[in-house]
């Protein structure tokens, strides 16, 4: 064996994959060749150093972000519209609560309509033609007061409920209305800025997507964006504002895209959003997703 051949076999010898006879020849050569001995020792030393190289642990942020993403994806996969699921549950709930007397039923349904809380469509259809007398009006006013109180309770409990799942459910039920009231939207924007769970915040941004034509919603999301810490939520917020083609967001996007301390994905999303906003309004559905990869493996 010449020196070149020997040295070419070092890597195999090192990980034990060199056949026994060649290993024996290599060892024999090593005992008699100082050059290869030096080379072998150097290789061993560098390998040892490399193997001893410590790696820092990823921060808890990695796990948190991953599971938030996973929850989000699982929900998408389970039910194309999570709202449908929530609606059927709430319909059952209110069917059980609904009073027997038609008058009360009417008033109750009207109160639901007024407060915009959890109203199922078939309740709304029924009372439309009924005449409204004074006592009914008073009743409705009284019920409306009660429902406002209930509404506030819902928001308050939303902020206090212990389980993330319950809070998400509450977000979905509140948002699953034909026209959520301004106070509902306001409440959602508040929770979006205060809730400790990424999943809850993400659910709210998702749900608010249907109301991105509302300037209050856009303003709320825009003001929350720079303070939001979770990249996933930030990206969702950027997508909402971009879908609404709100050019007021440009300076905030600009700042995010330049901020070195901001997550790479967020910066990329901000850059893409800027590009979309600056496009002549041709393709409103321009995607914010990273470019598709070719088929793999």
């Amino acid at each position: 064996m010449n020196c070149q051949r020997v040295q070419d076999n070092f890597i195999d010898y090192q990980d034990g994959s060199l056949p026994a006879d060649e290993s024996a020849q290599l060892r024999a050569h090593l005992t008699s060749c100082p050059t290869c001995q030096r080379e072998w020792a150097a290789l061993q030393e560098m390998t040892r150093k490399l193997d001893a190289l410590p790696v820092a642990e990823p921060s808890p942020r990695l796990r948190e972000n991953f599971y938030a993403m996973l929850d989000h994806a699982q929900r998408d996969a389970d039910a194309p519209s999570p709202f449908a699921l929530a609606r059927s549950r709430i319909d059952r709930f209110f069917a059980a609560l609904l009073p027997e007397q038609p008058a009360m039923q009417f008033a109750f349904a009207l109160a639901l309509l007024v407060c915009g809380l959890l109203a199922g469509q078939h309740y709304l259809a029924r009372p439309a033609a009924a005449p409204v007398d004074d006592s009914a009006k008073r009743e409705v006013a009284e019920l409306r007061k009660q429902m406002d109180a209930v509404n506030q309770l819902v928001v308050a409990s939303l902020l206090q409920q212990k389980s993330t799942t319950e809070r998400i459910q509450a977000v979905l039920t509140t948002m699953d209305q034909k026209a959520p009231s301004p106070s509902d939207l306001h409440a959602m924007l508040t929770v979006m800025q205060t809730d400790s769970s990424i999943n809850v915040r993400l659910s709210i941004v998702d749900a608010l997507n249907q109301h991105s034509d509302d300037s209050i919603v856009r303003a709320g999301v825009l003001s929350a964006l720079p303070r939001e810490r979770a990249p996933l939520v930030q990206v969702a917020m950027i997508e909402l504002l971009t879908a609404a083609r709100d050019r007021v967001a440009e300076p905030v996007f600009e700042k995010l895209s330049r901020d070195e301390s901001v997550d790479l994905n967020v910066r990329a999303a901000a850059r893409r959003a800027l590009a979309v906003l600056r496009l002549p309004a041709a393709s409103p559905t321009a995607t914010l997703q990273p470019a598709a990869q070719p088929l793999l493996t």
């Binding site: 193997d51 642990e57 991953f66 996973l70 790479l264």
Partner: protein, 210 residues
């Protein structure tokens, strides 16, 4: 699917290698990924638990930036979700995930093409802590800093082959598949990379002393 993909990893010889996941679970990576593909998205959590640390190590060693490492791991898992339908019945999960990881790293380097690889301040802090220890450990810590600096100066394809073979403990066969070259070429590259690493390492040490 003949083997659990983990069996493809070389048996670790050093304590640092112990972070490579061990195949004790009944469900193989491949079975989990097939379930994910079929819509049981949450089972990706198990794969995350098995792979996020080796992947994080891969990215940190390749970029020398712990904070970037986390983002890139997240992107890999995002792409797994997004492209889960492209995972094949005869696929091999470890090969697939490293394939995705290499693409993610390549994207990262393309975006930051002109910028030299920084030594992350977080790394420096780690070393400062170690520096407070007795002198032998301090020397070892300094060695680590030197070695990281040397790794960062290698051309990407040399750094990559070292990270994959020595630090991720992938088999040469598997690396060859990833890099789309022959097993022989991988070995030659690995050997050259080690020699180059050594030269750069001693050069930096000399510069420091001077």
């Amino acid at each position: 699917m003949t083997l659990a993909p983990i069996a493809q990893f070389r048996v670790p010889s050093q304590p640092v290698a112990a972070r490579v996941p061990v195949a004790v679970e009944a469900t193989s990576d491949h079975e989990l990924m097939i379930a994910v593909r079929a819509g049981e998205i949450r089972r990706l959590g198990d794969l995350f638990e098995r792979y996020h640390q080796p992947l994080y190590g891969f990215f940190v060693r390749l970029t020398n930036q712990p904070s970037v490492g986390e983002d890139l791991v997240q992107i890999v898992f995002y792409r797994i979700l997004k492209y889960r339908h492209t995972y094949r019945d005869e696929g091999k999960f470890s090969a697939w995930i490293y394939h995705l990881a290499r693409k993610v790293a390549a994207d990262h380097f393309r975006k930051h093409a002109s910028t030299p690889i920084p030594t992350d301040p977080v790394d420096m802090l780690d070393q400062a802590d170690a520096g407070a220890q007795p002198s032998e450990q301090a020397a070892a810590a300094e060695d680590v800093v030197l070695l990281r600096a040397a790794l960062a100066r290698l051309p990407l394809e040399h750094r990559e082959v070292l990270v994959l073979s020595r630090l991720q403990h992938l088999e040469h066969k598997e690396i060859a598949r990833l890099l789309d070259c022959s097993v022989g070429a991988v070995k030659v590259r690995a050997h050259r990379a080690l020699k180059e690493l050594r030269e750069v390492y001693f050069k930096i040490r000399k510069e420091k002393v001077a």
